[in-house]
Subunit: 208 residues, 2 copies
């Protein structure tokens, strides 16, 4: 099937939204924890990405369409946020954080997830998650084409099961039971196929 | 296990690179096709992301560490590029496009992938891929924290199996046999768990 840019423009809006959101394939799913200094906020994002390893930088896309952007406002206020990998056992709770709860209700309470804090870090972590990442805000970048913001944080704190870390630092997300997602609302379980050796011109990649 | 920013700085470099690259979880895997106007280039990227649905925008992160950035240079020259979803059956070939081949050798020939072109679009598509996306370059954004570039394109052309598109536009990547990845070198197969209904405060999400 061939679809041109003219065809895309003529698609019904929700159909186009679903299709285009699905194109990028499998994505990680995280809930982002923030605080306004008093009230905790938790919101699901499937736009978390690796930005760099030295220093350790991660980012996420903040959509302009969000009328209420508590996550963004809280990060600008406190300077910190947490990324908590969603595991298969609590996907429904993570998904439900997207509902528009009253501002004075914490999504932790609304959906039934546990929170914990560490010293001198004003954002909540999710106790249910097997991979907690605390970041300090370092940069926001505007994508002018659609007024989307890319929010970048530097990794300040990691908490995870050390048994899931391989000898070379690789993290086994299958052991962590991390979920994957596609588009706006589909969730997946992943099975490892293999790791491949560093690609060199004169030989085929080997399974590690 | 708790890891502070001071611990991270003290980790051996390749260990830290593997660990931090793994944190963002499951990612889509694409090979990006470009041309310098004469010679085709193909390179694997696992940083492809959804940017917006109207207009249809997708992006990828171009690392500053790449000494040779043929993909970026070609996009700036021709104004177009293709994203081709990597399927499980040809992961090794996609991985091998990362090898540093001589500039006068097309990665299509070097790794054994087929290419095709469409009219008036100066970038090659991958015949082996079940999801081909043609984009025109619209914007590059610099992430100043580590001099990384986010390259944004607008979707001009799609080619895929229409049987993989659900009635509401959602695309079934399991049917397309799309691969997922973690970190620099690990590849995965995904199984669908469920789709969930739009989150509303007054009810639990329903499986669709």
């Amino acid at each position: 099937m061939k679809i041109t840019s003219a065809d895309l423009e003529n698609l019904e809006k929700s159909y186009r939204t679903n299709l285009i959101n699905s194109l990028s394939g499998f994505k990680g799913v995280f809930v982002i924890g923030t605080s306004d200094g008093n009230q905790s906020n938790l919101a699901i994002f499937n736009s978390v990405m690796h930005i760099g390893a030295n220093p350790g930088l991660m980012g996420f896309v903040q959509r302009p369409a969000s009328v209420e952007r508590h996550t963004y406002e809280n990060i600008k206020k406190t300077g910190v946020f947490t990324l908590n990998a969603v595991a298969k056992s609590w996907i429904e709770k993570a998904h439900q954080t997207a509902a528009r709860y009253p501002q004075d209700l914490s999504e932790f309470d609304a959906v039934g997830l546990g929170e914990f804090f560490i010293d001198s870090f004003d954002a909540p972590f999710v106790a249910n998650s097997k991979l907690n990442i605390g970041l300090k805000f370092v940069e926001e970048v505007e994508i002018k084409s659609n007024s989307t913001l890319l929010i970048i944080g530097q990794i300040e704190y990691l908490q995870l099961d050390e048994n899931a870390i391989a000898n070379d630092g690789f993290l086994d997300h299958v052991q962590l039971e991390t979920a994957a997602s596609v588009g706006l609302d589909a969730y997946y379980s992943a099975e490892k196929l293999f790791r491949l050796s560093y690609a060199k011109p004169d030989k085929s990649p080997q399974k590690l």
